[in-house]
């Protein structure tokens, strides 16, 4: 039974500036379910991309040994032909094609050289759907099915490609409880018929219930490998977070208390495109001069919570209330949120925060053009004055305020984004992943800026995937898991282990 099917030997993969994988070794036995766990950015997805050939040979060092042979997969097609199929979090289905067209797209059944055998395609599709226990009409368009059923179509597609090793990247992240249970049971069924599965997951309870063995990654290295009988949630969490929190966080005087400036009361957000609640009964409080952290894993609904408060109701149907400075407000657009003194520094500064084709001074003033204009006509000397003062105060390193944003480093772009929002004179600042993708030196500068703002009476809501940052900077912490608020800690109570446990409920 314990025959090795797949081995990845000392895989090292370098991205510009970071080592994404450092001497990683993975060992998977035939017919088992192997789980890979780790924090965001630990290297799980990169490892699977190396395995499935998305990062081809030459971009990494180390060997992939599959069924006793060294393989160099060059692209997805190569790995699929050997029987390794990856199912990504973002499903690769065509919503406007039918179920049977989707199952055989890319490896169509053909009559002779070039005619598609649709009759056989439909028969085969039915057979594979039965195997995965999916009871839908094969003529249905995939886009009309729920996410859970779409996932099963993906698995049926994998089976039709004679899959030997099935890789699933967070398969249950978007599923509800019933669908998740269904999927896990299916994996157990497939195991009986000899299919090996590798599953990446954040949900430790799931992992423990299903895994035969687990590999734990942290910062691109393997920190532990555990077998079925040794699995223990606390131990796994310890391995996942086990890093010392250095003193990279500037000190600020302890929080003394103040009035509530922002409160949400049973705030719910229903995502119209995803068809489910992304924020569920959120009740958070933010006091004057306080830094409150929102912790949770990627996709837990943190950004959605921020956007719901910030009034981006285009995508969400929002119910419940938001109270700002003891006043119930109806935040139905970003401009009304800005008027109520709320600012939102986006996690994706390139897509949602800044206009890269424009200059620093144009970006900084964009959210408050009224302040630099009279009767709708812009005052450019005032615009330049404003830009100069923020470039100075936030120490943005640039040859000139007329530099276009795309020419700045990530850290400096982030400071421009913060400057842009400070210019709206908010008293509540929402920072979404304020230090993502920027170097350590700039991180420290941004933490210093946060402390300065708090000293001036600003209240800050900080979303972060980096636990050390949450622990090092926040006075109070809410933990969110799948849209639901699962815990609240003061900075004294909080530990990385406690947060991780509540984030992976």
């Amino acid at each position: 039974m314990n025959k090795t099917i797949l081995e990845m030997r000392s895989i090292t993969k370098q991205f510009p500036g970071v080592k994404a994988l450092d001497d990683v070794t993975l060992h998977v036995n035939e017919g088992e379910i192997h789980c890979i766990v780790g924090e965001n950015g630990a290297g799980k997805s990169t490892l699977m991309k190396v395995l499935s050939g998305i990062h081809g040979p030459g971009t990494y060092s180390g060997d992939i040994v599959f069924q006793g042979e060294v393989k160099a997969f060059n692209g997805i097609r190569d790995s699929v032909n050997s029987g390794i199929v990856i199912i990504n979090q973002e499903l690769a289905l065509f919503p406007d094609l039918t179920v049977y067209e989707n199952v055989f797209v890319g490896h169509e059944l053909v009559n002779n050289k070039f005619l598609v055998d649709w009759k056989k395609t439909r028969e085969e599709t039915k057979r594979y759907l039965d195997m995965v226990g999916l009871d839908v009409d094969i003529y249905d368009h995939v886009g009309t099915l729920g996410v859970g059923k779409q996932q099963l179509v993906e698995i049926a597609k994998a089976l039709s490609q004679q899959v030997k090793v099935l890789i699933l990247d967070e398969p249950t992240a978007a599923l509800n409880e019933d669908d998740s249970k269904n999927l896990l049971n299916l994996l157990k069924e497939l195991k009986k018929s000899g299919v090996t599965s590798i599953m990446i997951s954040h949900k430790l309870k799931e992992v423990i219930s299903i895994a035969d063995s687990v590999t734990i990654l942290r910062d691109g290295r393997v920190v532990a490998r555990m077998e079925k009988d040794e699995l223990d949630e606390q131990v796994i969490i310890k391995h996942m977070v086990g890093r010392e929190i250095g003193n990279i966080f500037p000190k600020r005087p302890p929080y003394k208390g103040g009035d509530i400036v922002l409160e949400t009361i049973n705030l719910n957000s229903f995502d119209k495109t995803k068809g489910r609640y992304v924020v569920f009964n959120s009740n958070i409080k933010l006091h004057r001069g306080e830094v409150v952290g929102i912790a949770g894993l990627m996709g837990a609904g943190r950004t959605e919570l921020a956007l719901s408060i910030f009034g981006n109701s285009k995508k969400y149907k929002i119910s419940g209330g938001v109270i700002v400075n003891d006043k119930r407000v109806d935040l139905n657009s970003p401009s009304s949120a800005i008027e109520n003194g709320i600012a939102y520094v986006s996690e994706d500064r390139k897509r949602n925060g800044l206009i890269l084709t424009e200059t620093i001074s144009e970006n900084i003033t964009l959210s408050a053009l009224r302040k630099i204009s009279r009767n709708g006509i812009l005052n450019f000397s005032k615009q330049d004055e404003v830009a100069e003062s923020y470039v100075g105060n936030l120490s943005i390193r640039t040859p000139s305020i007329h530099q276009r944003l795309r020419n700045l480093s990530g850290g400096n772009q982030q400071k421009v984004q913060i400057g842009k929002w400070l210019f709206t004179e908010p008293n509540i600042l929402i920072l979404d992943e304020p230090t993502r993708g920027i170097d350590v030196g700039s991180k420290f500068e941004i933490y210093t800026i946060i402390n300065d703002l708090v000293a001036q009476g600003m209240s800050i809501l900080m979303i972060s995937s980096e636990l050390p940052e949450i622990l090092g900077m926040c006075d109070r912490i809410y933990v969110i898991s799948e849209g639901v608020q699962t815990a609240e800690f003061t900075s004294e109570e909080a530990t990385a282990e406690k947060i991780m446990a509540m984030a992976t409920v």
Partner: protein, 471 residues
């Protein structure tokens, strides 16, 4: 280090400026080339007072459409319906005045209301209902074509009212000074003075707040160049009959829209929406409202263009409106507006319209068969966009710095170049069977090439102040 010869320095600076801002100046250079070629072919007739005035009159309606189209394309949309909408609105005004006996004022106001409502509907469908603008305006194209046929009853209707004659044919009246029209001279003079004052003020402001802009010598050179161009246009117009109402309206539209796009809050928001709609929305800008505004503005300009056209030809005709939108879109792209949104200048679209109409007018004047003209126009459009893509990522260059660097790194450069050539030669003569040797030499070549490129890059990116302040 030896100081550089000031005359040489001046020319190096001019060329640096041209090369660094080639995207902005490319079109003007193209225009000068086109003007030159047609002048030679037609023996100077092309740039003569009569033809040049006619050229500008013919350009007017395309230029007005191109100005509106710039905003549409900057916000990542398109409007295919402006041709037939313009022709319809022109016909509407003519029919109301000539056949229904309405006053000119009433006809203009109702036409304005109609076009605003249509613009709102187009914008609403695009922004709120999220129908692609291509489809909305394609449908509009059919609808307005039909409305044009209905309004004119498929017949030609003469526009005899005095109002149409004034707009379409008349010139702003004024005294003659010798052979010259005084008003044209005054207008040209005012434009030159305004430009001079503005660029000097800009220079002083930049200097005061410490922005590194152009040198004074460059500012003055630019100004001299512009003065010559505007002076020439002024002279040509004044030598014929002065400024026509068509030209006057066009200039007003260009100035208003230039001001709107560069100096106002609304303008900034339009460009922000085009540059990054998601970021604009999260910055508190209502993307939907901006897009609706842009379509309404397009509608108003379409009405002006339609009025200009029927006035110029003194008739309303069911065959008007064909390809107007294509000329407007082409002018916008020739003017360097980006199809990816967020980038584009109203003034450049105006010049793009002149480029297009110059080709049309010049080829006719030179006696080319009229069937060739679309081929040439298409080729010019393609070349303009290819040029734009090719020059998208030009790095700034400082030839004065390069000059100093060439002197300073002369020996290193010669050495690196020599090594590179030697390595290349060595690889050529080596025995191809000797794999190990070939490999070794290829490695040597790569190394030499790398060093050669490094020194070339260092020279290429040198700046004047590195040398002047260092000495």
């Amino acid at each position: 280090m030896k100081k550089i010869n000031p005359v040489l320095q001046y020319f190096l600076k001019i060329i640096s400026m041209l090369r660094t801002n080639i995207r902005d100046y490319g079109m003007y250079i193209a225009l000068v080339v086109i003007f030159g070629v047609f002048s030679i072919i037609t023996g100077g007739l092309f740039l003569g007072p009569v033809n040049f005035t006619n050229l500008l009159n013919q350009t007017a309606y395309v230029a007005v459409l191109a100005v509106g189209m710039t905003l549409v394309i900057v916000t990542r949309q398109i409007d295919l319906s402006v041709g037939f909408l313009g022709a319809f609105l022109g016909a509407y005004i003519v029919v109301e005045v000539e056949n229904a006996g309405a006053s000119v004022g009433l006809a203009l106001i109702t036409a304005l209301i109609i076009t605003i409502v249509i613009g709102f509907i187009k914008g609403f469908l695009v922004a709120k209902v999220r129908v692609p603008s291509f489809v909305v305006t394609l449908a509009g194209m059919f609808i307005f074509k039909g409305m044009l046929l209905l309004k004119t009853n498929s017949t030609t209707i003469p526009a005899t009212h005095e109002f149409f004659r004034i707009i379409g044919v008349n010139y702003l009246s004024s005294y003659q000074v010798g052979p010259f029209n005084l008003l044209a001279l005054i207008l040209g003079f005012l434009v030159i003075i305004t430009l001079a004052v503005m660029s000097i003020l800009r220079y002083r402001h930049d200097k005061k707040v410490g922005i590194k802009g152009n040198d004074l010598s460059m500012v003055i050179s630019k100004l001299v160049f512009l003065t010559i161009i505007i002076g020439f246009i002024t002279y040509t117009l004044a030598a014929y009959r002065g400024v026509s109402y068509l030209i006057f309206i066009t200039i007003i539209v260009v100035i208003v829209y230039h001001f709107l796009t560069t100096k106002t809050v609304l303008g900034r928001r339009i460009y922000a929406v085009g540059g990054n709609p998601d970021a604009a929305e999260l910055s508190g800008i209502s993307v939907q409202r901006i897009i609706i505004f842009v379509f309404i503005s397009m509608g108003v300009l379409t009405m002006i263009a339609g009025l200009m056209y029927v006035s110029m030809l003194r008739t309303a005709n069911p065959n008007y409106g064909i390809s107007w939108e294509l000329y407007a879109i082409a002018a916008t792209y020739i003017g360097g507006t980006s199809a990816n949104g967020g980038v584009g200048k109203v003034i450049n679209s105006f010049v793009g319209a002149i480029v297009i109409m110059s080709i049309q007018n010049g080829m006719k004047l030179a006696g080319f068969p009229s069937n060739i003209e679309p081929v040439v126009l298409g080729a010019v459009l393609l070349l303009a966009v290819i040029f734009d893509i090719y020059t998208r990522n030009v790095r700034s260059i400082d030839l004065v710095g390069v000059h100093y660097a060439k002197v300073k790194y002369n020996e290193e450069f010669a050495l690196a170049r020599n090594n590179y050539l030697e390595a290349k030669k060595a690889l050529k003569v080596v025995d191809k069977e000797d794999n190990l040797k070939v490999l070794e030499l290829e490695f040597e070549l790569m190394k030499a090439q790398g060093q050669y490129n490094q020194i070339k890059d260092r020279i290429r990116s040198s700046k004047e102040e590195e040398f002047v302040n260092g000495v």
